[in-house]
């Protein structure tokens, strides 16, 4: 008897629920790690939404836009400014950080809406990040200029997040929300529109898909998620300064999605884990740190052009994204 599509979909949903075991297994982590190791894990959690948002634009929409570091900085500075200048608690500053990230996303989509593509789009959006860095440096009364801005300890409904363990649980919650919401979007009509635009924009338009609207929405969602990552970064580091949002940071974020897997939600998570945590492991080998890190990236891109996520997808269908070419 032929299995219907709805049966298959229901089975996929049931089997995907197995993935809930991952955050549950992570819960006792703070009991097992020292504060530095816990800090590294928190840094990984910061880079998960940063990579997810970047991957929506580059991997799912297929637009080579390098505005991610601008969204990251805008999210971080929005949270920081609201905490320092207006005295708002950190948790209140998170939604505005997401909102400002979304607004920045809409602004960054303008060249793409005008038909700018490939390297031209990359350069124009790169300029957006550099322009924002100029703003952080020059808008001294608000951003603190080159010296930056020291932030008060974050809190959640009055509960201090001073410890790394406290931040871990809040970050884990935010990361889960970002993953689940993005997964829902990518599996919906929106996700189909993104893939259609990436595959053949003209054909998508001919099917009646309002491509410009979906490009803007993709950028806005990417910006919002990265903006949350920025707010998390502000809470983790406790100090914001312009060099944290420079070109090196952009290259790091790009390496995360390339190594993890372009267009793959699972890949964004794996990439954030590997690229953020790997340098910390290489600390044990002083002098070779950069070399080993570089070799790791080159090996993955040479032998796994679709990223580490493709390894997992090959191992089990559970890890396959909807439009995985696996």
């Amino acid at each position: 008897m032929q299995r219907s599509a709805s049966d298959g979909a229901a089975r996929a949903v049931v089997s995907r629920r197995v993935l809930w075991i991952v955050p549950i297994l992570l819960l006792p982590l703070p009991l097992l790690l020292n504060p530095y190791q816990q800090y590294v894990i928190n840094l990984v959690l910061v880079y998960v939404p940063v990579a997810i948002g970047f991957n929506v634009v580059v991997g799912n929409l297929g637009l080579l836009a390098f505005s991610n570091v601008a969204f990251f900085g805008i999210g971080a500075y929005t949270a920081g400014i609201l905490m320092v200048r207006l005295g708002l608690p950190w948790w209140v500053a998170v939604p505005p950080a997401a909102l400002m990230g979304a607004v920045a996303g809409c602004a960054a989509s303008v060249p793409a809406l005008r038909g700018v593509r490939l390297f031209y789009l990359a350069i124009m959006t790169l300029a957006f990040g550099e322009l924002m860095r100029w703003v952080y440096i020059r808008w001294i009364p608000v951003t603190g200029g080159s010296f930056g801005m020291a932030l008060p300890p974050p809190d959640l409904f009055g509960w201090s997040l001073d410890s790394e363990a406290g931040k871990f649980y809040v970050f884990l919650g935010l990361v889960l929300v970002a993953i689940i919401a993005t997964d829902r979007i990518l599996r919906s009509r929106f996700g189909r529109a993104f893939v259609a635009i990436k595959s053949d924009e003209l054909a998508a338009a001919a099917m009646g898909v309002p491509t410009n609207r979906y490009i803007t929405l993709g950028f806005a969602w990417g910006g919002a998620v990265v903006g949350v990552g920025g707010a998390m970064y502000a809470a983790l580091i406790g100090h914001l300064s312009p060099p944290a949002f420079d070109l090196t940071e952009l290259i790091l974020e790009f390496a995360i999605i390339m190594v993890g897997g372009l267009g793959s939600l699972v890949g964004s998570v794996i990439g954030a884990v590997i690229i953020t945590a790997a340098p910390e492991f290489f600390h044990e080998l002083p002098g070779y740190q950069e070399l080993l890190f570089g070799i790791l990236i080159v090996l993955v891109i040479l032998f796994l052009p679709r990223g580490l996520a493709s390894l997992l997808a090959r191992a089990h269908p559970l890890f396959r994204d909807r439009y995985d070419r696996g």
């Binding site: 893939v195 595959s199 003209l202 001919a206 099917m207 898909v209 439009y323």
Partner: protein
Amino acid sequence: MPEPLLTALGVEAGYRSKQILFGVDFTISRGEVVALLGANGSGKSTALNTVSGFVRPSAGSIRFDGEEIAGSPPHRIFRRGIIQVSQARDLFPDMSVEDNLRLGAWVRGAEIEADLDAVCTSFPRLGERRRQPVRLMSGGEQQMVAIGRALMGRPKLLLLDEPSGGLAPVFVGEIAAIMTALKGRGITMLIIEQNIKLALTVADRFLILRDGKVAQGHDVRTGAATEEDIVRSIYL
């Protein structure tokens, strides 16, 4: 007499400075199947692309369902009910059969499950491969997805650009059967087809394009023109 579904009058079009169509005139009535025939370079695909909006006419009028559509963008023309299956098929290779079909009904958004089931019933091969990525299918199966996707949009006028082009003989027969079935459902079609036998099996009427103009038109149903006469008209 009711107004034809589509009326093209004095349509001129081309690509940049190269003019291809020099005043094309034709009509299509509701429920009619018209085959557009002609040698390579006679302007068949340009005529089809001008109707669907992918090529902007430089002169002339195209009226569809009582409205002027000449020069409208492709997505507006799609929304009016003119749906084209191009030679390249324009499928989304990484998407599954089902997702490609769903995109065909994008503009309607909701209430598409019944259409999806109907297409999968009409094309059992697609029903069996609903979750398979389109890039893993044969050329004939991809052509079925392309036609199925067009049907998901509930076309008032279906434009088919060489539906049998590049297909194995076994699939040409299947495509012919599909087109005959669509005709039986009363779907109005404008078809470009190099396979004259196939075109004559399905079409009610054919038009021959030569040098960017309609040179001749015949009603297939009268039996006035044989396949040999038509080939002679096209190439000699």
